[in-house]
């Protein structure tokens, strides 16, 4: 049993990192909006899904044009990611402008319900368009990066089993690391990042310091949604199949990751996403072995959420969150 646990470890790490990287980038969208507006933007999962659909249709378009033979696959993917993230970014701004801004001074609960409404709306619009164009709403993306890489983990330590990874894993990991790094620099090193942090700290005072609050909020939504959309494209490439409901489960998990890392804290959310992905994979692979078959891998989410509850009991602000200073 223990040998199984150690043996599958390299493969679990690889799968967990892929899933975790996706959780991490989506979690950032939740955390940024929460940090600035104290709004849980439940439509974020659906923005991720919309990004996946836009990206897939672009990939279809590019492959249909025959670009796939002339350009390297990675370049096509980058084009699709950039175009999809601009679209979802603009979509995010639009949602903020139409649905959230008029309600900014309304009670929090009303905005929350609006967010849930928007997420249903997006699901059904995407499903409608997909059914209209393809006749079915489960879409299979074109196959890119199908190569398999075998890692001889057993040569590192004989207890390990060899692991296999799809080359898309490397793409997903690299692109998300780049996105996370650029975002970190943007928030911590640039003027707009500083304005963002100022608005997050105290909206009224920031506006007195001649920060254009509406603009900052719009930019926050743009960046959060663009990252979400880009991750959607990565997801579509990694798993090959998308439907209008992928945003729901993944959105909840990413939100959990954001809370785990400390909601409002960007680096915390990144860490939270990776941790959640790894725990989930570990639990799915080993839970039935560890409990002698009493709990199967279907309890992986229960396992992950129990950990979340334990963390929140002992550290309510999340793993990396600062205890919130009382706003006066």
């Amino acid at each position: 049993m223990l040998t199984d646990l150690i043996g599958t470890l390299p493969q679990v790490l690889i799968d967990g990192l892929t899933l975790g990287a996706i959780y991490a980038v989506v979690a950032i969208g939740y955390t940024m909006v929460y940090g600035i507006l104290e709004l849980i933007n439940f439509a974020h999962g659906e923005i991720f899904m919309t990004g996946a659909f836009i990206g897939t249709s672009l990939l279809f378009l590019f492959t249909g044009q025959g670009w796939i033979h002339t350009l390297p696959a990675i370049l096509i993917l980058l084009l699709a990611i950039i175009a999809a993230s601009i679209c979802t970014g603009v979509l995010g701004i639009g949602i903020e402008r139409v649905a959230y801004r008029p309600l900014r001074n309304a009670p929090k609960l009303i905005t929350l319900i609006t967010a849930i409404g928007i997420s249903f709306l997006l699901q059904d619009i995407v499903r409608f368009i997909a059914e209209l164009k393809k006749g079915t709403y489960i879409i299979n993306g074109p196959n890119l990066f199908n190569g398999q890489i075998h890692i001889k983990a057993s040569s590192l330590w004989p207890e390990f089993h060899d692991a296999t990874l799809k080359s898309s894993f490397l793409v997903v990991l690299l692109v998300s690391i780049v996105m996370l790094a650029v975002l970190d620099i943007f928030v911590n090193r640039t003027k707009w990042g500083m304005a963002m942090r100022a608005v997050a700290q105290d909206r009224e005072t920031a506006s007195l310091m001649s920060v254009n609050v509406n603009k900052v909020i719009a930019i926050t939504f743009f960046i959060g949604s663009a990252l979400g959309g880009a991750t959607g494209v990565l997801f579509a490439v990694q798993y090959g199949t998308i439907d209008p409901y992928i945003g729901y489960t993944l959105g909840i998990k990413a939100f959990t990751a954001a809370v785990l890392g400390g909601i409002g804290n960007i680096r915390g959310s990144m860490a939270g996403g990776l941790i959640l992905g790894l725990i989930e994979m570990f639990a799915a692979a080993n839970l039935s072995g560890l409990t002698g078959g009493v709990f199967g891998s279907e309890y992986k989410d229960v396992f992950a959420f129990i950990l979340l509850i334990i963390v929140l009991i002992f550290k309510p602000e999340g793993l990396f969150g600062k205890a919130a200073a009382e706003k006066v």
């Binding site: 599958t8 279907e298 989410d301």
Partner: protein, 397 residues
């Protein structure tokens, strides 16, 4: 600006839907006008719109073909046969309200349908009230006939026969000794997987793992990691094609290259789309047989293609046979009634009493519950990434 657009979009959608609704009501009315002879109507109920419209239309067309072939025969007996197609949209509510319409039209003497078990079950309660016999070409859930209704019959096999049939093929033909079972926690998936597991254990195979997944997820690497450490020589999946396709794809990417088997939930061209090349060396059990195996079946497929300019789908031939049985029952009832129009109760009992009817894909002989004694489960294998799969064998009760 955006909200305005959404609004007008919404209005347009409402308009379109209401227009469509109006159309379908019209067509069913216009069919109702009869000739001078006594009119006997047979209704079909299947999803003609929505996600499973391909299968639903196949049921309607198959039934239509059988009915039109026999129109002349009934004309001689002094009756005018008519087909009344209804669209149940795969929705129990719509199916039941159609059933009410069918029940209140006293010229209707039988129903061919439905596709979905979930629609067949509530709608048949209405048929039972009006004593209209129903023959389903495709509803496999055990509960459809287990309620012992007098009107409910089916020509296809039951779900609780599919699992054991798969197990016997896996253990006896594929010589699987260590089997890993995955299911999707739905009534269908779990029922199928449990039935498979019990039968496989009885046949002497060892179940090295029994795990479940969540419908709607896309990443099954966790479960597959425990599959690869258990090293089974066959993986069985109880569930539908959306998850099944991904499991197959991700398993092959992990180097799990043992045969993977599933139920008729995988019997869809989308399954092949999702899994791609990974679909090779996977098996599925289905209640629908391949019509091209027999000469009658080939002839049927040709007629169907000439008439409707469409290829036969898995359930076309079952609908054809279901209609054949229905008309045979009707004919028997008319004869027993001295050539006069029978009551619905007489037709209902005549349909249930059908013995050894020979159809193009299946023989039909209803037992006391309305299950077909000759219903078979067919084993298909994917040798290449193309749908449909090749038929490998058939298992009868």
């Amino acid at each position: 600006m955006k909200s305005k657009k959404l609004w007008s979009f919404g209005l347009a959608a409402v308009l379109a839907v209401s227009l469509l609704g109006a159309c379908s009501q019209y067509s069913s009315k216009s069919n109702a006008s009869g000739g001078s002879m006594q009119v006997i109507k047979i209704a079909t109920q299947s999803p003609l719109s929505g996600g499973s419209a391909t299968l639903g239309e196949a049921i309607k067309l198959g039934a239509q073909l059988a009915l039109e072939e026999q129109q002349a025969k009934f004309k001689k007996m002094g009756f005018k046969l008519q087909l009344v197609p209804y669209d149940d949209q795969g929705d129990p509510k719509k199916g039941v309200s159609n059933a009410q319409l069918i029940g209140s039209d006293d010229q209707v003497f039988g129903v061919i349908g439905h596709l979905n078990s979930g629609v067949s079950i509530p709608a048949s309660e209405v048929y039972e009230k009006y004593a209209i016999p129903m023959i389903s070409p495709a509803s496999t859930a055990t509960e459809v006939t287990d309620r012992n209704l007098k009107t409910v019959n089916r020509v296809c096999a039951r779900d609780d026969f599919q699992g054991p049939a798969g197990a016997s093929y896996a253990v006896k033909t594929l010589k699987a000794k260590k089997i890993f079972v995955i299911q999707d926690k739905t009534a269908y998936g779990q029922g199928l997987a449990d039935a498979f597991k019990a039968a496989a254990e009885k046949l002497g195979a060892k179940i090295v793992g029994y795990e479940s997944i969540t419908v709607g997820e896309k990443d099954f690497n966790g479960v597959l990691n425990s599959v690869s450490s258990a090293k089974p020589d066959l993986v069985y999946f109880g569930g539908l094609y959306a998850e099944g396709g991904l499991i197959v794809k991700q398993a092959r990417a992990k180097g799990i290259d043992v045969p993977i088997m599933g139920g008729d939930g995988l019997d869809s061209s989308t399954y092949v789309d999702i899994a791609g090349g990974a679909v090779k060396n996977t098996y599925l059990t289905s209640v629908a047989g391949d019509v091209s195996k027999t000469s009658e079946g080939k002839k049927f497929a040709e007629n169907y293609k000439n008439k409707f300019r469409k290829n036969v789908e898995s359930y076309s031939a079952y609908a054809y046979d279901a209609m054949g049985v229905m008309l045979k029952g009707l004919e028997n009832a008319i004869k027993a009634n001295g050539g006069k129009i029978p009551t619905r109760e007489q037709v209902r009992d005549a349909v249930r009493a059908i013995k050894d009817y020979k159809g193009v894909v299946t023989e039909v002989d209803f037992d006391s519950k309305g299950d077909n004694k000759y219903a078979k489960v067919f084993i298909y294998k994917f040798n290449k990434a193309a749908y449909p799969a090749e038929q490998e064998g058939e298992i009868s009760k």
